[in-house]
């Protein structure tokens, strides 16, 4: 057919294809058709109540389970506003025409539905949908029958039907699992337990009210005056775990309210958040991730929002400006809860800090007011064991810390021996927290300590001792020079340590490059060499011998240079091993040869 530039041809859309697309790619599970059914019914009742606010709306669901004779049928009935014949053509058979629907529902914000595709999603589980509906505005009822192959028919009904809509879904062979009473009952409760109109579910044997069993509603009073035990119990039911406590959440933006539960075990800050979110009281998703600020990874919540946009799949919230504002407001709720605990319930706060140390540290860094409140209760690893900052402050005037666990380990023993309190800030946030101290409290002084600083504070040898140790040190320098390690001798506690191997971050990096160069291929080995040649080599590893150690004293006294060489080699290797520094091939060789030489010497 030739068409003369007139745009009067229309695309033809294959309904089956669309449904498959929806069920396979947009929705996470076929169960969403339950949500669409409930949504249509609730919207219809809401629309009728617009004209008559005293109207008592209700929804009832009846299930005829599949049997050998009968394929199984689900009937959903509401006494809402109903559709006229014209509306039936518009809403039930046109896909994606949401604007008409908006006009129809006047103010779209009062309604849950948005995409105008709702009912058709039922084709995921059935081949035929029958809708019988009577509008307030129409003198007669209409029957619409739609089929999965994309065809439908509409006819007027003569018999008397009351205002409202009744939808019949006949189970498709193979979809029986979605028509079983226990499954369906749970699904309706899952999606609809917070919905505002009574919803009855009957399977022919019993009839229940599905929105009867909620422990609270999402109103401000409902949450604040709710029974504590019942709210905790509800959290346990929803997430299948115990919680320490809960925090009421409200945000004016987005009209959000709900409950944040405090998790009872340590959480990974980068783990996926999974919050349960209701949208206008209809279940939206169990895995909303972007509801709370990043630092709130120690919470799981159940919230309802009346004024936020869902994504097209209706299973996440749109990540827009409004949502960031909601995040901030919910963050405020969490902060005021913590502030209140710091003032009036220090026991609970300590319990939270003990489990969620990381989260609380992250928060303290973010907000100065919390920093001041929490700092005394935050635990740190120190050379004297785990202490809270409050305890540390009592023991020392200047807060001394190392920025890495490697450096901490090097000086841990000696500082403990001298009862000096040094903080290990190698763990996450600790360095930042300590370095923030002078900014917040002007009277606190902090000092970053490196192993080399520590050795600078050791007692020096006097002239006579220096004289005695001279030869020993000269020999040791020659032995260790090829290993890029310098040598010192001082006096320090504890005396049972013969020598201390010290390496700071920069020297460690160079050692790392040297070791890697030895295993790398030619290209990378030369590249690493060129890079490391130009890193300032002022920092070297250091072996500091302990003049107070009896073994060292004896070595200094010996005449055998050979023995001194072998011993220095062994002490060097031993200090490397003690500090978990893997030996490079040259050091491995040294270990072997010096051990054998030593045995040889003894024999």
């Amino acid at each position: 057919m030739v068409n003369n530039n007139e745009f009067d041809l229309r695309f033809k859309v294959n309904l089956q294809g669309i449904i498959e697309l929806l069920s396979n790619h947009l929705y996470s599970s076929p169960k969403v058709y339950i949500r669409e059914l409930l949504q249509n019914a609730v919207d219809a009742v809401t629309a009728r109540r617009k004209n008559d606010s005293g109207f008592y709306g209700s929804i009832s669901i009846e299930l005829f389970e599949p049997s050998e004779k009968n394929p199984g049928t689900l009937v959903v009935e509401d006494n809402g506003i109903g559709l006229t014949e014209e509306e039936v053509h518009q809403f039930l058979a046109v896909i994606g025409q949401s604007s008409k629907r908006e006009e129809f529902f006047q103010r779209r914000n009062d309604f849950i539905g948005q995409f105008g595709i709702g009912l058709l999603s039922c084709f995921i589980v059935c081949d035929e949908i029958i809708v019988i509906t009577k509008s307030e505005k129409s003198p007669y009822a209409v029957e619409w029958v739609g089929k999965y192959d994309g065809t439908y028919r509409v006819r007027k009904l003569d018999n008397d039907v009351s205002v409202g809509t009744k939808i019949y879904l006949r189970c498709r062979p193979g979809s029986e699992e979605y028509f079983q009473a226990p499954t369906l009952k749970d699904l309706f409760i899952h999606y609809g337990c917070f919905l505002p109109y009574p919803i009855y579910f009957s399977d022919g044997k019993s009839k229940i009210l599905i929105n009867n069993e909620k422990p609270f509603d999402f109103s401000r009073d409902g949450i604040l005056k709710g029974d504590r035990e019942a709210i905790l119990e509800y959290g346990k039911k929803v997430f299948d775990e115990d919680f320490i406590d809960y925090i009421p959440l409200f945000s004016k933006t987005g009209d959000v309210s709900g409950i944040a539960y405090i998790i009872s075990y340590k959480m990974n800050p980068s783990s996926k958040r999974r919050h349960r979110v209701y949208l206008k009281n209809m279940f939206l998703s169990d895995s909303v991730e972007n509801l709370l600020p990043d630092w709130a990874f120690f919470l799981k919540c159940v919230v309802n929002c009346n004024d936020l946009e869902p994504t097209a799949s209706r299973e996440q919230l749109c990540d827009d400006k409004k949502l960031s504002q909601v995040q901030a407001e919910l963050g405020d709720c969490i902060r005021s809860y913590l502030v209140e605990k710091a003032r009036f319930d220090i026991f609970r706060l300590r319990e939270i800090i003990k489990i969620h140390t990381l989260a609380i540290k992250a928060l303290s860094l973010e907000f100065d007011e919390l920093y001041k409140l929490f700092i005394d209760w935050l635990p740190f690893e120190t050379s004297l064991g785990i202490l809270t900052f409050g305890e540390i402050k009592k023991r020392t005037d200047i807060i001394q810390y190392t920025p890495s666990i490697d450096e901490f380990r090097q000086i841990q023993k000696i500082s403990a021996a001298k009862s000096i309190c040094i903080l290990n800030c190698g763990y996450i946030y600790d360095t930042e927290i300590i370095e923030k101290l002078p900014e917040i409290f002007h009277d606190i002084r902090i000092e970053r300590i490196s192993p080399t600083d520590m050795s600078a504070s050791f007692e020096e040898l006097d002239f006579e001792e220096r004289e005695k140790a001279f030869e020993f040190i000269k020999t040791a320098e020659v032995v260790l020079q090829p290993f890029n390690c310098s040598v010192q001798i001082k006096k320090f506690e504890p005396t049972d340590i013969p020598a201390l191997f010290m390496i700071d971050e920069e020297a460690n990096l160079i050692r790392n490059i040297e070791n890697t160069k030895e295993v790398s291929n030619f290209l990378f080995s030369s590249i690493l060499g060129q890079i490391s040649d130009n890193i300032s080599t002022s920092s070297k590893a250091q072996l500091c011998f302990n003049y107070n150690n009896p073994l060292i004293t004896r070595l200094i006294g010996t005449d055998s240079k050979e023995l001194v060489c072998m011993s220095v080699e062994i002490i060097y290797i031993q200090s490397l091993l003690m500090g978990h520094y893997p030996l490079n091939p040259r050091e491995m060789k040294l270990l072997n040869s010096s051990l054998l030489n030593l045995i040889d010497y003894k024999l």
Partner: protein, 360 residues
């Protein structure tokens, strides 16, 4: 085996990304090595490469990668080289930022990368892209142009950068050849939020700051600054972007620029990646020159103890500070020029210094 490694790894597992995690991972790698546990050493170093590349410890990443590559080549029955191709492109991109690595080594590195991609049947798109970046950032305009077309005409595959990064890289090239209008157009899907990833739009905002000023898009520039700074101020991997924010503020609000300088100078001071250090030092040089031009002779600058150049080198006046940055920056530029056999970096310096007289 005493379970020490397992315990440490489970601790690391709980840690958020960043330097503390990197240092712990290196500790874990040392333990794995002392236990001769190749497999663990290999896996731990994969994480070191990630932490290093994305949190600003590039040298640590290069070291860990060299080790992984060596183990792959030595033990092909244990490790699969295809696992390294993705990292390889990051590493090459880090290495040419060290001027001490001579040109012929960089060419060899690119050849090796190309060879490995070819052997795995992978598209050369990442190879062309990174080589193009290397060439134009070293002043080889014509060779860069040739590779640009090869790059955008190569097919995408599993080793290609994500769409957002890919577009951002093209924006960068267009900015380099000063085709600003096309660059802004190209950046639209990123600026509208349609394309994003862990590093985009963070980088894009910074790249567009100065071009926005030059083309009179003052409101856009301010928005890019405000949004962009929030995304990058906690992660020193964005040091290069930070230099651009510093330059932008030098032009529009030099007081704020000083504040940013004080907060982030430590990143530049500590980094081993000379190219990034050069960018930030150059921006600082421009900033202090502007301050001088505004009539200031002295200024109190607060720097962290470890990087307090003011105290260490007794830089008492603005002139002293300018002289120090000038020396440091030109030294680095000379190294790059020497390697590249041209004077491209002098041009970069001259162009940046023009910002001192930029009139809004």
């Amino acid at each position: 085996m005493d379970g020490k490694l397992e315990k440490l790894l489970s601790e690391i597992d709980l840690m958020p990304d960043g330097k503390a995690k990197l240092l712990m991972l290196e500790e874990a790698a040392r333990i794995a090595d002392s236990q001769n546990d190749l497999k663990a050493g290999f896996d731990i170093r994969e994480e070191i490469v990630h932490q290093g590349v994305f949190y600003g410890h590039h040298l640590n990443a290069i070291i860990a990668f060299s080790w992984r590559l060596a183990q792959c080549e030595k033990n092909p029955h244990l490790f699969d080289i295809s696992d390294l191709l993705w990292e390889y492109k990051w590493i090459v991109e880090e290495i040419y930022k060290f001027p001490d690595v001579p040109s012929e080594k960089i060419e060899q590195l690119f050849e090796d990368m190309k060879d490995k991609y070819n052997r795995e049947g992978a598209s050369l798109r990442p190879y062309y892209c990174i080589k193009c970046k290397y060439l134009y950032s070293s002043g080889f305009k014509e060779r860069a142009e040739e590779l640009y077309f090869k790059w955008i005409n190569s097919p995408r595959d599993g080793y290609s950068d994500c769409r957002a990064c890919d577009i951002d890289n093209q924006v960068l090239y267009l900015l380099y050849i000063k085709d600003y209008e096309k660059a802004f157009e190209m950046a639209q899907p990123i600026l509208s939020g349609r394309l994003k990833c862990a590093e985009i739009p963070h980088l894009t905002y910074a790249e567009l700051l100065l071009p926005s000023l030059e083309t009179g898009r003052l409101n856009d520039a301010q928005i890019f600054h405000e949004k962009g700074y929030k995304l990058i101020y906690k992660n020193k991997d964005f040091l290069e972007s930070m230099s651009k924010h510093l330059l932008y503020l030098t032009v529009v609000d030099v007081n704020k620029a000083v504040n940013i300088f004080e907060k982030h100078f430590q990143w530049a001071f500590e980094t081993h990646t000379i190219f990034f250090k050069f960018e930030f030092y150059l921006a600082s040089w421009v900033m202090f020159t502007k301050i001088k031009k505004l009539g200031k002779e002295q200024l109190k600058i607060h720097l962290q103890k470890d990087c307090n150049i003011i105290e260490k080198y007794k830089l008492n006046t603005i002139d002293d500070i300018i002289a120090w940055f000038e020396k440091e920056t030109t030294d680095m530029a000379n190294k790059f020029n020497l390697r590249n056999g041209n004077d491209h970096f002098n041009g970069v310096i001259q162009e940046r210094l023009k910002l001192v007289g930029f009139q809004l």
